[in-house]
């Protein structure tokens, strides 16, 4: 097989097909996006750190709360150009719509509502397999923090 690869025409074809596949893969939109929303309760009454949140401990440090407790994790697969709603503690809802995928960054449109009342509408671009933190709404004497992560499929 290696002898055959010395044939420049064969090698050229191989390189050409690889290049075309690579470029196609690099630029074409993924089929769907897997989104995980972690709901976290941040408080100041005690010093406790939920071990379940170990993976994002460094990310939460800037918020300088004394305690962090995982409330709920929810993962959904959102089809491209589609949207899904995530149930958030405290009667809230987080609607996430997928927008675009470019340069390994996923564009999302995010709306957080409390009942019918919109709290925040934002459009963000998250690195593939990265996340963004959204926090602030009051909950159970502390603050609600949402870690929104997304990965293409």
């Amino acid at each position: 097989m290696w002898k055959k690869l010395r044939n420049p025409v064969l090698l050229f074809s191989l390189v050409f097909v690889s290049a075309a596949s690579w470029l196609h893969a690099a630029e074409s939109a993924p089929q769907s996006v897997q989104v995980t929303v972690r709901s976290i309760l941040a408080g100041s009454k005690s010093d406790e750190f939920d071990p379940k949140l170990k993976s994002i401990e460094q990310q939460l440090k800037p918020l300088k709360h004394r305690s962090y407790r995982a409330l709920k994790d929810e993962t959904q697969t959102i089809p491209w150009q589609g949207s899904k709603a995530f149930e958030i503690p405290g009667g809230r809802s987080l609607t996430i719509a997928t927008q675009e995928f470019q340069n390994e960054r996923i564009g999302l449109k995010i709306r957080l509502t409390q009942g019918d009342k919109p709290l925040i509408d934002t459009t963000v671009k998250i690195p593939n397999r990265g996340n963004i933190i959204l926090g602030g709404p009051a909950h159970e004497g502390g603050s609600l923090i949402l870690s929104i992560s997304a990965a293409t499929q």
Partner: protein, 176 residues
Amino acid sequence: MSQCDAIQESIGRWLDGELKATDSEAVRSHVEGCLACGAARQRLEKIQTTLGGLLRAQASQLEFAPFWREVRRRIDEKRPWHEELIERVQSQLTAPRLAWAVPAAIILALGFISYAKWPLGGQVSNYASVESIDTHGRSVALLREDETKTTIIWLYQDPEGDNENVEEATKSGPAF
């Protein structure tokens, strides 16, 4: 396909000495005993002999001295510098080299595109970016944490009250 058809397909190779010994022997013994295949052999040999004879007859009249004089004249003739240059360039652009140059050029182009798409040695910004934001009248803070490259959107509570825990929630806002 009859045996004769198969043999006649191989007669050329047999006459050229390109068959294996066993196949050669099989063809020979059939041709010597078969009128049709024998005739096919004769036709092929006649074509070969006639063509060869024609060309040899012409070539035998070719005298060396005038031929060499003309070749020598070309060798000694000074050629314009641009013809020399073109010939040198053309001699470098041989088919095998070009064939290798093409995949090499593609690989270089891919490398360039990769670098252009992901500058600074391939590092993409790991920060999430906020393209637009509407907090419906509330205050908001955007924070970027360098160590973990984290983007944080912090929504401050509406003093008019989203819920009964506003005061405590306000107090427990982030210290940044």
